[in-house]
């Protein structure tokens, strides 16, 4: 084998270079760019939040890609699209939420559009003037899973996100105004706000929801009363003019204040209803009007449709006023009532507390009415006053009422059955009255009256009747004549004469006593003593007689005083009264003759009186009195001599005594006798002095 010097052929194999050797490093750049792009795309996709749809009434100012959703003023979403609902009645805004908050946007979420608002209380949402509106959202802080469809609120809610408080409803009473967003003030501090006012279900009251923020909600109890502070009060009085308003903001924008007037109310709960009063005075007064503010509303449908029933008309239960009519509407409902007549749908606002129901028995005042309606209680219209024709609603028990029940399903309030109204009765009564007036025999009555008047005229014009006054005048003349009769006129003169005589008597007695005192008498002692004793005895008897005389005189004067002059006059006036009664009597037709006769009799009686009777008796009496006085005079005339004798006796006794021994028995006795005599003389003197001073005491006995 021959060794070749040729090297063996080296197998050359073309080897394809590996991809790493052939590829340029620059390829890393687009790879990196691609990776970054993919990464960014993935990142943005995975970070993207879900889309929710919010339905708005209008998309005022909303624009896709610009309008944001804010929660507590932080952007958490963006409006991506604005479209309509299927039937074009709402605007659907598709909002891309941020992923982090998406799970909180559950069913509790509320959305509304924030717009710029300029009110008397300030400017809100100013930033939206230039930047455009935004959607504000609020939701609670517990994630409840995403809800993808929402309906936006037409107005911002009362409480901002996270603000807690008591939500109540205010019912405005007449005169109180509710204005949206108005503040609720408590002692001047704003503690709450009023929402948008609306009408109550029955359309009678304005009402608005309101919120009292924490922690002031604890102040509100069932005894709290709210009143309107809007506007101002202007009063002009003795203290000058006074202008009063709470604040400038509430002057323009309205406001509500409240006060818990009495303690002990129950704490208010969410949804509690309160009345809003026109002013503070009424609010305070209301607390004592109705202890419980809740009223019971009932509806009554009257078949008849009377005019005259007005809002505010009283509602009475068996005569007790328990409420008033709060609204009246006419309704036509053929399906319900079977005809197309107009029914009167009346809403009654009752205050059950006026019934003083036993709450243990009737938990709900409506139960009471249910029970009563079972027993036949029905409502009806009745006349409140006949003068104005005003009506009221009356609840009465109708004995044979067809069975009916309270319709508890009534909308919005239970319906109380009604019965026929009482208006027809009243009109029937009035008609009956008029009928009876019509039936009165007025014409016959007038004919009789005319006849009667004729007769009366002829009677009055008759000669006899004409003569009556003349007779009466004559009668009066007679009476006057009687009074002016000389006998009567003479009476005072006679009395004066009597007095003069009495005075004369007294003068005489004075003369006698003077004589007695002046006389100088000396006599013999023994005889004098006897004579003195006898004289003393005589004087005693004589003096004893004087009272008797006086007594008889008194009787006399009594009799004179008892002369029935006044009775006579009374009788005369009685006679005149009888005459008058006679004239007024029914038998006046037959009167003139009899009257004349009667008058004649009266005249005759008076004449008789004048001619004899009493006056003469009086004269006689006076004459007797004169005689008596004369007797007294005579008696008194006897007195001076008596006194003279006594004086003589005393003188004698003194002479005698001067002759005897001073200390003897005789002398003592004589002195005593003399003293007695002297006393007697003094008694006479005092008697005569009394007579002088009061002469008539002899007659009158005093």
């Amino acid at each position: 084998m021959r060794v070749s010097d040729q090297p063996p052929e080296i197998p050359v194999r073309s080897v394809r270079a590996s991809i790493f050797e052939r590829a340029s490093v620059v390829w890393l750049v687009p790879m990196a760019a691609l990776l970054v792009a993919l990464g960014v795309a993935w990142q943005s996709y995975s970070d993207r939040g879900p889309v929710i749809e919010i339905a708005f009434d209008s998309a005022a100012g909303m624009s896709p890609g610009e309008t944001v959703l804010r929660y507590r003023d932080v952007d958490v979403g963006l409006v991506e699209d604005v479209a309509f609902t299927d039937n074009l009645d709402r605007v659907l805004a598709s909002v891309r939420l941020e992923k982090s908050i998406a799970s909180f946007v559950d069913d509790s979420a509320e959305f509304w559009i924030v717009r710029p608002e300029v009110t008397a209380r300030g400017v809100t949402g100013l930033d939206t003037v230039l930047s455009g509106v935004y959607i504000e959202g609020t939701w609670d802080s517990t994630p409840g899973g995403l809800a993808s469809r929402h309906v936006a609120l037409a107005e911002p809610p009362l409480a901002a996100a996270g603000q807690l408080g008591l939500r109540i409803v205010l019912n405005a009473s007449p005169g109180a105004a509710l204005s949206e967003g108005a503040p609720i003030l408590y002692k001047g501090i704003e503690v709450g706000r009023i929402g948008k006012p609306g009408l109550s279900e029955d359309g009678v009251n304005a009402r608005a929801s309101a919120i009292i923020f924490e922690p002031y909600d604890r102040i509100v109890t069932s005894a709290t009363r709210f009143w309107d502070t809007s506007g101002f009060t202007f009063s002009l009085g003795a203290g000058g003019a006074e202008l009063d308003f709470t604040s400038l903001a509430s002057l323009i924008g309205g406001g509500v204040a409240f006060e818990t007037i009495v303690s002990g109310g129950r704490p208010a709960v969410d949804g509690a209803e309160f009345g809003l009063f026109a002013d503070e005075g009424r609010a305070r007064a209301s607390l004592f009007d109705t202890t419980e503010g809740t009223e019971l509303n009932l509806i009554v449908i009257f078949r008849e449709n009377f005019s005259g029933l007005a809002v505010g008309a009283p509602v009475e239960l068996e005569g007790v006023r328990i409420g008033e009519v709060s609204s009246i509407r006419g309704i036509v409902d053929e399906d319900r009532f079977g005809d197309d007549g107009v029914r009167l749908l009346t809403t009654l606002a009752l205050v059950p507390s006026r019934l003083s129901l036993d709450l243990a028995e009737f938990d709900d005042p409506l139960d009471y009415f249910e029970q009563r309606v079972d027993a036949g209680l029905r409502a009806r219209l009745a006349t409140a006053t006949i003068l104005t024709g005003g009506l009221k609603v009356e609840m009465i028990e109708v004995p044979e009422a067809p069975i009916e029940l309270i319709d508890l399903s009534g909308d919005p309030y239970p319906i109380l059955p009604s019965t026929l109204s009482e208006i027809s009765d009243v009109s029937a009564t009035a008609e009956g009255v008029f009928q009876r007036i019509n039936d009165l025999p007025i014409e016959e009555l007038l004919v009789s009256a005319i006849g009667f008047l004729d007769a009366a005229e002829s009677f009055v014009g008759g000669n006899d009747t004409q003569a009556v006054p003349a007779e009466v005048r004559g009668l009066i003349g007679d009476v006057r004549g009687l009074v002016t009769a000389p006998e009567l006129q003479a009476l005072p003169a006679e009395v004066a004469a009597l007095v003069a005589e009495l005075k004369g008597v007294a003068d005489d007695m004075r003369v006698v006593t003077t004589a007695l005192s002046e006389a100088d008498m000396v006599a013999r002692l023994q005889g004098a003593i006897d004579a003195a004793a006898a004289a003393a005895t005589g004087v005693e008897t004589s003096v004893e007689g004087v009272p008797e005389l006086v007594t008889s005189l008194t009787e006399l004067s009594d009799r004179a005083g008892a002369i029935p002059l006044d009775i006579m006059v009374e009788q005369a006036s009685g006679a005149l009264a009888s005459a008058q009664a006679l004239i007024a009597s029914d038998d006046t037709q037959a009167l003139p003759g009899a009257l004349t006769t009667a008058l004649a009799e009266v005249e005759a009686a008076l004449q008789e009186l004048r001619e004899g009777g009493a006056v003469r008796n009086l004269n006689q009496t006076l004459a007797s009195a004169e005689t008596a006085a004369a007797a007294i005079e005579t008696a008194v005339v006897g007195l001076p001599s008596l006194t003279g004798r006594i004086e003589a006796l005393v003188a004698q006794a003194e002479d005698a005594l001067s002759g005897v021994d001073q200390n003897s028995e005789l002398s003592r006795e004589a002195r005593a006798a003399l003293r007695d005599i002297s006393n007697a003389a003094e008694a006479f003197e005092s008697l005569s002095r009394a007579l002088e001073r009061r002469p008539n005491s002899v007659i009158l006995g005093r």
Binding site: R22, A23, S24, V26, L28, V29, P30, A33, L34, A37
Partner: protein, 187 residues
């Protein structure tokens, strides 16, 4: 072909850039990738007191045109859209033309390459405008202009396309002539 060093500077002497086309395509792709976000994202974010506005390139052009500023709109449109797109198209055409037998005249293709290289830098005018505005208009709360994410992407896109144009070895345009005539072997 052996490799030698330049006797003067010692740099490696190559007859053709190695993997030229690969680098062209790589830069070109990177530029294209960057060009997408440059057009999607906003170029400028203008924030005034109450309003924040961001505009993309095309959006800005349309807005300018809507306001009647047709001249400025045209400039921006040319600088930001026409030139970059044209560059992408030109580079792709050149790269394709050297890979296969092209009917286009080498002189024309060389001219295209020169134009691309020259004009490519002008695309940065957008980025410069954004940079200048951003630095000038900084009035705190009242108004501020900030570059948007697109400006960075656009700048990258311009840079990548410039690199792509540079990576292209224009001698390859003429290689086909040797194939047809002198039969000079290619590398």
């Amino acid at each position: 072909m052996g490799t030698e060093s330049c006797p003067n500077c010692g740099a490696r002497v190559v007859s053709r850039s190695r993997r030229s086309l690969q680098r062209v395509w790589a830069w070109w792709l990177a530029g294209l990738i960057c060009y997408v976000p440059a057009n999607i994202y906003p170029m400028l974010e203008t924030r005034t007191l109450v309003h924040t506005e961001s505009a993309t390139i095309v959006g800005g052009v349309a807005e300018l045109a809507a306001h009647g500023a047709y001249g400025i709109a045209l400039i921006i449109l040319v600088a930001s859209v026409v030139i970059p797109v044209g560059k992408f198209a030109s580079i792709a055409f050149l790269a394709f033309s050297v890979g296969s037998v092209s009917r286009a005249a080498p002189q024309a293709r060389h001219g295209v390459h020169e134009i691309v290289e020259y004009i490519g830098r002008w695309s940065m005018i957008d980025v410069f405008v954004v940079a200048i505005l951003s630095s000038l208009v900084q009035l705190n709360a009242v108004a501020a202009i900030q570059p948007g994410p697109a400006s960075l992407a656009f700048a990258l896109s311009v840079i990548f396309t410039m690199l792509s144009a540079q990576a292209f070895d224009p001698r390859m345009i003429w290689d086909g002539i040797e194939d047809r005539g002198a039969g000079i072997a290619r590398e």
